[in-house]
Symmetry: C2
Subunit: 334 residues, 2 copies
Amino acid sequence: MLTRCGISKILIFDYDKVELANMNRLFYRPEQKGMTKVLAAKQTLEDINPDTEIVPYAFSITSTENWQDFVDALTKNGGVQPNSSVDLLLCCVDNFQARLTVNYACLLHNIPWMESGVAENAVSGHIQLLLPGVTPCYECCPPLVVATGMPEAKREGVCAASLPTTMGIVAGFMAQNTLKYLLNFGTVSEYVGYDAMRDHFPSITIKANPECRNETCVQRQQEYAARRAAMGDAAHPLHQANKQREEREAKERAAARAKATASAAEWGIVIEARGKEDLAVHAPQPEGVEAVSVEYAYSSGAGNAAEHAQEEFVMTDGGESLEALMAKMKALQH
Amino acid sequence: MLTRCGISKILIFDYDKVELANMNRLFYRPEQKGMTKVLAAKQTLEDINPDTEIVPYAFSITSTENWQDFVDALTKNGGVQPNSSVDLLLCCVDNFQARLTVNYACLLHNIPWMESGVAENAVSGHIQLLLPGVTPCYECCPPLVVATGMPEAKREGVCAASLPTTMGIVAGFMAQNTLKYLLNFGTVSEYVGYDAMRDHFPSITIKANPECRNETCVQRQQEYAARRAAMGDAAHPLHQANKQREEREAKERAAARAKATASAAEWGIVIEARGKEDLAVHAPQPEGVEAVSVEYAYSSGAGNAAEHAQEEFVMTDGGESLEALMAKMKALQH
């Protein structure tokens, strides 16, 4: 997804080889069996968009001997410019040791990252944004398995279930949040959960733990507290982006409001209430018709002024019947 | 996703050809430019899983001259058995005319289907399940554009924005709901919305409109009402599946409860409360530790009895310290 969106450079770390058992969920193809996963991924991703640079690293990030290579790759070969760091690290691993390694590297080098996971039952998952010192680190509120210091959290011999749907949706959340983070649109989520059995999407907010057992995390928290004391809200890494986004959205809303008001006047529609939280534009409805148009509430296919106004206005009719309005609309088409 | 899951047979209808402009969001590759979309899709899907039969139909379903071919394909060449119908139709089109065609074919031949859409602004979408006579049909609560009878709802000359993330997530919802529908697990959703800007997932329930302007829909509703009068809840197409699922889940819960109770007794953990709605298993926490493990609440990686018990129990410690429990857990590892 990120390749299709034209991200300039993607580093991939994985020590594993493609197996046929991966076909049920990952984007490999049977003929890639036996290739390293990073090279197979590079092949597929470059087929999709030759303009994205894919840098493969076929080693395990958790081996002590690879630590320096891992950190150098992130900080010295990470960015598009020479000797620059990655903008964001996406963690899509299946064990706690790798997550702890990523957590430590990101804390040490102040790299924002996103953690993701799908449960062994294949029907729930989550993504989480981790900004060193600002949001909790991965050790701030450790899973029990981490707290107990067990060496390997992925249970040996357990063949976990997996579904391409759950994985695809969680990957989609991660890529979407990445786009929002890098391109400054929408609200970047700190946590999105997904329970496939009930299509339930829990959201959780957690604060960084000042007594985190990771000393680098505590140090980053103190640095952030100092920046906050000096700069206030502006200390937050997303502050500038949020501010720019809010200003742009306010402009768009003002323009849409003006357009909608003009259009409403022309159509004899009265604006009854306004609310940022209300997504729906209620079409005028005669008595006895209960349902509001679902399509219309989500898509902007029909309206023009409605497009940006839909988060801002709740409209109702000024006495004209649905039939009269439809007749007007039809007339407008010819 | 469905191909990776091993669906036996997939019919694909599309009259279009692959363009470079599709690369930003669809799963085609640049070298497939100029191929019909159905053949390019067949090629890619068969590469993924040669065991899935992909049947391409490169024609427009909205042309009157193709109507019979479309209906014959669905009803006579749809199933794995000769002369049988598709189990489910997935509608992934970008205009209302095609949706209305699908709606009519499905009403006429009693075919369950799922509708999907992504808004022109690329940051919201939805899926919806349509069971003829049981849930609303596509004309029961028409978008304004349908109500007004405009001939072509996709605005000419509008180059809609699109994001592979939003499309991937909506496609993931659709494929997941398809698996739940076909394989009888979880709750099949009637509607899942997605607002990417805020990671908000609205859900809507709408009833079939007894005054639907589509006569076949009204007829199907009456047939369903008659079946309900005779059979009660058993008339619902998902009734048997729901019942089987609930029985299976009840058995799993009872087994997990027995296992968890035994395990809790062994560990000195007291069960304080039970609640189907509570997803989290609260790990024993000494005073001063606020955060509950996020990972632990979602994944079942650490626990064993916890796996199925997590929807059923809220546990708390029976006096033992976290350290003592950790020591026990560590001892268990060796």
